[in-house]
Each structure stands twice: as structure tokens, then as C-alpha cells.
């Protein structure tokens, strides 16, 4: 569809933003037309999030000029940005947990009758907003009582409800199931047709090709190019993002598969997953595919000992480990890389080396003395191996970009020298370069004789890495597919098929 005739909704001319240590956005021009979906892609740290935050009014010290509907504006606070019709859906959920859905939806613009809030109107409005995203919840329920993907939809409804003329979506699908993604795309289409300008940020390139009209690629704080989606291929986008050819990755090596390192028999945690049987062998990469809420992460948490199993046995390298604590399992070489690196994976406020060594503290002691210097050599090697940047181990983890944080998290689990490593969404929200490093590391790990389980919603990732893929649905394993059966389409189909247990 041609959107030029609707006019420019947003024009950013020569904008820049500098943090104390880095330049995040460097003299970028960016235009979005009304009535288009404009994808913004780039590696982590390329500056797209900063650019969007600038648009949302998070900074009052950016340079350059911004025009909204051909009017020069100064977006120095969220409320000013909002007043110009800019709405933003954040990657991290930004809902107030203890507060009701209605008040979250209508935050800052509750309907009033005179001085007071009009409660009936508030509920009615909230219901209407929830309907736009296909939710039928009691608007007076606190957000903490609803599930995470419902909350993600509420977040979308909240922003859409402000009727913005420019809508920014930062990875809106990361927590959604396939059905919900479809619903979201419907919503996006509808909004676009009303003349809204939509900026869509995603690492998930197929999505972009499905819904975007144009795409802008950023790299190293600069804009690389803006293209109509018809004029560009996936490979070209990737090349622009990383500056090298896509052919270098997506190749699967085969290697011999050894003895069973992890055996799970009839494992259940009531209400989360039931009757799980699984064997993972040395040198094997097993993918677990399923929609969010299928119980994948919960399964991993029970295997590694964070939560207790209600039933079943787990055997690690011939040794039952049901009664061991997580610390003991880690000592035996069982690691679990979580999907939430900020909350569960890394201690963002402490140094990189301490993060890398955090899982091996008990191994590093001499007598009763522990000193992080004992492990510094190993930490340095891991940083080099995983090309984590910056390389200075004294930096706090929070100062790293998303991709480097993820690599740091992987380094932490590599440090335990894992026999079995479970990776939960190992490359969620990271750039292509980091993703490549992570995949190579996983493959090397398998090559060197470890058993690896990869839990992922990223189907190409599963197809590429896995020797076998197990489909998990609603707490049960429903299907196991060998490498030759696996394709994105077959996995998708399997994950969404109802199977009798």
C-alpha cells in the first residue's frame, strides 16, 4: 500500500543522544508516514531503543530537531510526548502490579466527574479497551492476578487506548502465543488503516516481512538505510545490520552422539507439567518447542532444582539427583540459563567477573578462603571466547548492551563446565552477531560432549540447532521430531495441534 500520500507523521532530523560513556544515537534522520507500519531493526546497542525513548520523551537533553505532523516539537518529558500523540509499548512490561487493570489502562487520564473520578465510566472504558485486544477480564482485577501474556495485551490496549497518531511497539510479540500474535497483527492492520503511523521494532525478521511497509536499519548509533519492504530481502537486512553476509551462519554440523547424560522419568510438578519422560545424550542438542505457558521453563526449573518435583526421577550421568539441591546439581555440571536475564540471570549491579564466577563460587575456594581473583583467568578466557564487549571485567553487568549481557550470562554457565546445559530462550532479544556467537558456543559445547537442551520460541533457531525437537503443549510432551522432519512449518503446526494424552 502506498502511504506517501497521507503525509509525514514524524520527521527526526539530525537527532543525537549521548550517555556519559557512549554515544547512543548519532545524527540520525528518520521519517515515518501516517498510515504505514515502519519497522526499525538493528543489533542490540545499535541505538534503536534510545531513538524511540527519545521519541517517547524520556530525555530532555537530546540534540537535533523532531517534527510531529510537520510541527517542530521538543519532546522533553513523557507527558509532552503524549500530548503530541506519541504512544509507546515497552518491551519490559510497565504495568503497576497491585493496581487494577482499569486504572492501568487509563493511567493519568481517568475519567472524571467534576473533581472526582467517575468509576462507572472508568470500568466501561476499560472494558471497551480490553475488547480491542480480545480480552474479557474484570477491569477491577489487579494486574498481579493475570498472566504475563494477558498483561502484555493489556499493555498494548493501554497505549492504543490513548489514540496516538504515532505508535511505537518495542518487541511486542516476545511474550505472546501464536494466536495472540495473529490477533495483534490484526489490530496493527486495523490501526494502520485508520491512518496511524506505527513504528515496529523487532528482532524477528519474518514478522517484519509480514506486517511492515518500510524498514529502517540502524547500526552503531547511525541509520544505515530505509527501504520499502518489497525492495529488500531478509538476507540484505541482516547484512546491513551486521555488515557481513548471512551465508556465514545457518549451517548445521553433525557430530557423534554418546551416552545418556540426562534421564527424566515420569516427572511432574502438579499444575505445571505432568508425566515428562526424556533422555538427552552427550553431544546431542535437544530442542523443546512450545507456546509460552506450555510449562517449558517450569520443567527446566525442576530439572535444575530451583523448584521441587512432585513426582518422577531425574538422573544425571547415571546418578539420581532428585534429592540434591540446585547448588549440588550445579557442582555436578547441570546448568540452567534462564529466559529473564535481567531479573534471574545476571546481577546487573555487580561486576562482570563476579557474574561469570557466581555459579562456581564453591568450586573456587581454597580452604575456606574465596577470592574472585582465583577465577579471573577463566573469566578472562570466557570473555574472549564469547567476544563479550567491553572486555574490562571490572565493569558492572548493567553497563553492557543486551546482546553482551546475554553472552555474559552464557559465560556464567560455561564457567561451570557443564555436562548438561539447559538454555531457555538463549537468544531472545539479542542482535544477530550475538546470536551467532551464542549458537556457535552451543554447538561447540555439544561437540565437546555435553548434552544441551534448548528451549526456544524462535523456530529457525530450533531447526538450526536441534538434533531432535520435542513439542510441548499444555504441560505434556506431545511429539518428538527428528532433525530431518524439522522445519519451521512442521514445528509450528505441531506446537499448535491438540493431541490426546
Amino acid at each position: 500500500m502506498s502511504s506517501e500520500n497521507l503525509g509525514l507523521a514524524l520527521r527526526m532530523v539530525g537527532v543525537g543522544k549521548r550517555y556519559p560513556a557512549t554515544i547512543a544515537v548519532d545524527n540520525v534522520d528518520f521519517e515515518v508516514y501516517a498510515g504505514e507500519v515502519h519497522a526499525l531493526v538493528g543489533e542490540n546497542g545499535a541505538g534503536k531503543s534510545t531513538l524511540m525513548k527519545m521519541l517517547a520523551g524520556s530525555f530532555n537533553d537530546y540534540t537535533g530537531t523532531i517534527y510531529v505532523n510537520d510541527k517542530e516539537v521538543r519532546l522533553s518529558s513523557p507527558s509532552i510526548a503524549k500530548s503530541y500523540g506519541i504512544g509507546m509499548i515497552y518491551q519490559e512490561l510497565s504495568l503497576a502490579q497491585p493496581i487494577s487493570i482499569a486504572e492501568n489502562l487509563l493511567a493519568g487520564r481517568l475519567p472524571r466527574k467534576g473533581l472526582f473520578i467517575d468509576r462507572d465510566k472508568m470500568v466501561a472504558q476499560a472494558k471497551r479497551l480490553l475488547k480491542t485486544v480480545g480480552l474479557e477480564l474484570d477491569p477491577l482485577l489487579p494486574v498481579e492476578d493475570i498472566s504475563q501474556h494477558e498483561a502484555q495485551l493489556v499493555e498494548i490496549a493501554k497505549v492504543v487506548g490513548t489514540h496516538p497518531c504515532i505508535l511505537v511497539m518495542d518487541e511486542p510479540t516476545s511474550a505472546l502465543s501464536k494466536e495472540e500474535v495473529e490477533r495483534l497483527f490484526d489490530i496493527i492492520h486495523k490501526l494502520r488503516n485508520t491512518g496511524m503511523a506505527i513504528i515496529y521494532i523487532s528482532h524477528h525478521l519474518p514478522e517484519i516481512f509480514r506486517i511492515a511497509d518500510r524498514v529502517t536499519v540502524m547500526r552503531d548509533a547511525k541509520r544505515v538505510a530505509t527501504k520499502n519492504i518489497e525492495e529488500i530481502t531478509r538476507e540484505e537486512i541482516v547484512q546491513m545490520m551486521v555488515g557481513k553476509s548471512i551465508k556465514e551462519f545457518y549451517k548445521k554440523e553433525s557430530h557423534p552422539i554418546g551416552k545418556a547424560l540426562l534421564e527424566v522419568k515420569d516427572l511432574s510438578r502438579y499444575g505445571f507439567f505432568h508425566g515428562i519422560d526424556m533422555q538427552v545424550h552427550a553431544g546431542e542438542i535437544v530442542g523443546i518447542c512450545g507456546l509460552s505457558g506450555a510449562g517449558r521453563s517450569e520443567l527446566a526449573q525442576v530439572i535444575c532444582g530451583i523448584e521441587k518435583a512432585d513426582e518422577g526421577t531425574i538422573v544425571l550421568d547415571g546418578k539420581p539427583i532428585d534429592r540434591l539441591t540446585m547448588a549440588q546439581r550445579v557442582m555436578l555440571g547441570l546448568g540452567y540459563l534462564t529466559e529473564d536475564r535481567k531479573l534471574e540471570g545476571l546481577a546487573l549491579r555487580i561486576e562482570m567477573d563476579e557474574n561469570i564466577l557466581s555459579a562456581v563460587i564453591p568450586r573456587m575456594k581454597r580452604g575456606i578462603v574465596y577470592n574472585k581473583r582465583y577465577g579471573r583467568k577463566m573469566a578472562k578466557e570466557l570473555v574472549e571466547e564469547l567476544t563479550i564487549y567491553p572486555t574490562d571485567l571490572n565493569r558492572t553487568a548493567g553497563n553492557l548492551s543486551g546482546g553482551n549481557q546475554q553472552k555474559l550470562l552464557l559465560a556464567k554457565w560455561m564457567a561451570i563446565n557443564p555436562k548438561v546445559l539447559i538454555l531457555d530462550e538463549p537468544s531472545r532479544g539479542v542482535d544477530v552477531g550475538a546470536k551467532m556467537t551464542i549458537h556457535e558456543t552451543i554447538e561447540r559445547l555439544a561437540r565437546e560432549g555435553s548434552a544441551v537442551i534448548v528451549i526456544s520460541s524462535d523456530l529457525p533457531e530450533l531447526v538450526r540447532l536441534s538434533d531432535r525437537v520435542i513439542i510441548m503443549r499444555k504441560g505434556h510432551f506431545t511429539k518428538i521430531m527428528d532433525q530431518h522432519e524439522c522445519s519451521e512449518e512442521s514445528l509450528l503446526l505441531a506446537a499448535n495441534t491438540e493431541v490426546e494424552v
Binding site: P98, I99, Y270, G271, F272, H274
Partner: protein
């Protein structure tokens, strides 16, 4: 997902939400039935008068707590303002001394709030600091003595405040009730009031919603200190004197009552009315212990137990909540089947 029938957990949740009202009624009925001379107008008036100061303090304090902060300086602020009001009364009269004293309260809140939002010091720390400063200031102003009202008709104001105007309700109590209602409607029915909840629930949400979070936080601290000042001044007017440690006991009392009332330290939850009802409940309990002729040790023991129980219960509830978050109900139905299948 929708229109679920009222199950047991939902009933429990409602019970949880209204627990303080239930507690209030239970204590009220128990004391009325068993405590000698509890259920008569004089005693009930006494209780209402006694809670007036702490209830006033609890209003602002609860707002700060809903915002996710703490204000430990309320007790000292109450004393500080009362002392100012009475000291200046000698030279400038009530007409000026009371507004000045209230302004002093506002100033304390402003300083607290600015230190929290601008210098970004934890409110717990800031208010420990202001607490110390206010104590020194109060003592310095008075030279270590308590301050009494002076003038030709010293008792006029205190008599007016403490004699019932309506049945059982002296003006001081009426004022307190007015404050309570005002605050209640303020936090539940106005945009600004709801902002406290939003801010306490998630600062980011509030900020992104275009709410001036710093202004909201500072206003919460100002409300807290101002209400502390008002409470202190009224108490001093009623006693026609301000003592140097009159607010000292209030802090822990108000903190425990607010927690028992269901306002969470994490912010975003609770309400001013609940805090006041909690104070009233505790006060009835204390009155009961006095009427039964029991000593302070019983009172301290009981209030400690109630507080400990409430904190423990809340912690346990959220612990449970966290453990079962994301459980699938249809899978739970399978459990019985599973158990039958696997012999143990």
C-alpha cells in the same frame, strides 16, 4: 477465564481485603460484651478522642506508604509543629501561630520529599536524619521545657475541642472524621490520589503515563508532614500544652496500625481508611486491657503478636501466590488421575 464462579480463594481474597473491618467488628463486639464499662458513650468518646492524634498522623503516613516510601519523622514533626504553634502563640496569637506551625510542617515534608526525589536518598534514611534534626530543633526552641498555652482564657480552646458538640462527638473528633473522609475521598476518587497508588505500584508506569512522579512523591511527603503537624497542634491545643516527647510513641503505633490495616510497604496497596480503622481497633483493644485491669506487658505482647501475625500472613500469602503463579487449572484436574496411576 471470564465469569468464573466465586470460588473459595476468591472469598478468601475478599476476606483478606476487608480483614481490618472484620477485625474491628470482632474487637468491638467482644469488648462491648465483656469489658466492663466499655459500651457507653463516655468511654467511646474517650476512645475517639484518644485515637484522634494518631489517626490524623496515620492519614498522611499511609499516603507515603502507598507511594512506596516511609516517613519516620512524623512523630517528631508533630511535636515540632505543636511547639512552634504554642511558642509563637504568646507573641502573635493563634491566628498566625497555627498557620506558621502548619507551614513548618509543610516545609519538613518538602525537605523530606526533595531529598528523596532529587538527591535520591532512600526515604528510610532521609527521615531518620530529619527525625534527629527535628528533635534537636524542638529542644533548642524550648530550652528543654514543655510549652503551655498562655493568655487570658487558656482553656477556652481546649474546652471547645474536647466537649461533645454532637452526641459523643467533640469538635476534635469531628475534625478528625472530616480529615479522614476528606483523605479517603481524595485518595480513592481523585486523579491525584490515584496517582499515589500508581506510583507505588510501578513508578515507571506512572512516569510513562505522563505523571510528574517527583511532584507526586513530594506531595505525599508534604501531606504526611502536614497531617503530622495538624495532629500535633490539635493535640497540644486540647491538652493546652505541648510536651517534648508527645509524638514519640506515635511513630511505632502508626506504623504498626498502617501495616495491620493492609497497606503494603512495597507500595500501591492499602488505604487511609483502613489505617484509621486499624488504629481504632488497636485502641479498643488497649482500652479493653485497661478496663480488664491488665498491665502494659499484655498490651505490648498482644500488639506485637497481631503485627507479627499480619506480617507473617502477608508474607506467606505472597509466597504461596508466587509458587502457584502460572499453574494450569486443567492440569491440576489430572493430578488425581496421576496419583491413581503411580503407586507410591
Amino acid at each position: 477465564m471470564h465469569n468464573k464462579p466465586m470460588d473459595k480463594s476468591k472469598l478468601l481474597a475478599i476476606g483478606d481485603r476487608f480483614r481490618i473491618y472484620i477485625l474491628f467488628l470482632v474487637i468491638f463486639i467482644f469488648m462491648s460484651l465483656f469489658a466492663p464499662r466499655f459500651f457507653n458513650s463516655y468511654n467511646l468518646t474517650t476512645i475517639l478522642r484518644t485515637v484522634s492524634m494518631n489517626a490524623t498522623l496515620a492519614l498522611g503516613f499511609s499516603v507515603v506508604m502507598i507511594c512506596g516510601h516511609l516517613d519516620l519523622s512524623i512523630g517528631r514533626t508533630a511535636t515540632f509543629a505543636a511547639v512552634i504553634a504554642l511558642l509563637l502563640q504568646k507573641s502573635v496569637g493563634y491566628g498566625l501561630s497555627v498557620p506558621i506551625a502548619i507551614a513548618a510542617g509543610v516545609l519538613v515534608g518538602l525537605v523530606n520529599g526533595l531529598l528523596v526525589v532529587k538527591v535520591k536518598i532512600n526515604s528510610f534514611i532521609v527521615t531518620i536524619g530529619t527525625m534527629t534534626i527535628l528533635q534537636g530543633a524542638t529542644y533548642t526552641m524550648t530550652g528543654g521545657n514543655s510549652v503551655s498555652l498562655s493568655g487570658s482564657n487558656v482553656f477556652a480552646i481546649s474546652d471547645f475541642l474536647s466537649r461533645p458538640l454532637l452526641p459523643m462527638l467533640p469538635p476534635r473528633v469531628i475534625l478528625t472524621i472530616l480529615f479522614v473522609l476528606l483523605f479517603h475521598f481524595f485518595v480513592t476518587h481523585t486523579q491525584w490520589g490515584r496517582n499515589f497508588y500508581l506510583l507505588g505500584g510501578n513508578k515507571m508506569t506512572a512516569w510513562l503515563a505522563g505523571i510528574h512522579t517527583d511532584a507526586v512523591t513530594v506531595s505525599a511527603f508534604i501531606l504526611s508532614s502536614t497531617m503530622a503537624a495538624v495532629g500535633g497542634i490539635l493535640f497540644a491545643m486540647e491538652s493546652s500544652a505541648a510536651t517534648l516527647n508527645m509524638g514519640e510513641n506515635s511513630l511505632m503505633y502508626v506504623v504498626s496500625a498502617t501495616i495491620i490495616g493492609g497497606t503494603a510497604m512495597s507500595g500501591g496497596k492499602g488505604g487511609v481508611l483502613k489505617s484509621v480503622i486499624a488504629i481504632l481497633s488497636l485502641e479498643m483493644l488497649y482500652t479493653g486491657t485497661i478496663l480488664f485491669g491488665l498491665g502494659n506487658e499484655v498490651k505490648i505482647f498482644i500488639s506485637g503478636l497481631i503485627l507479627a501475625f499480619v506480617v507473617l500472613y502477608e508474607a506467606y500469602a505472597s509466597y504461596k501466590h508466587e509458587r502457584t503463579l502460572g499453574q494450569r487449572s486443567e492440569l491440576l484436574k489430572e493430578v488425581a488421575m496421576l496419583k491413581a496411576r503411580v503407586p507410591k
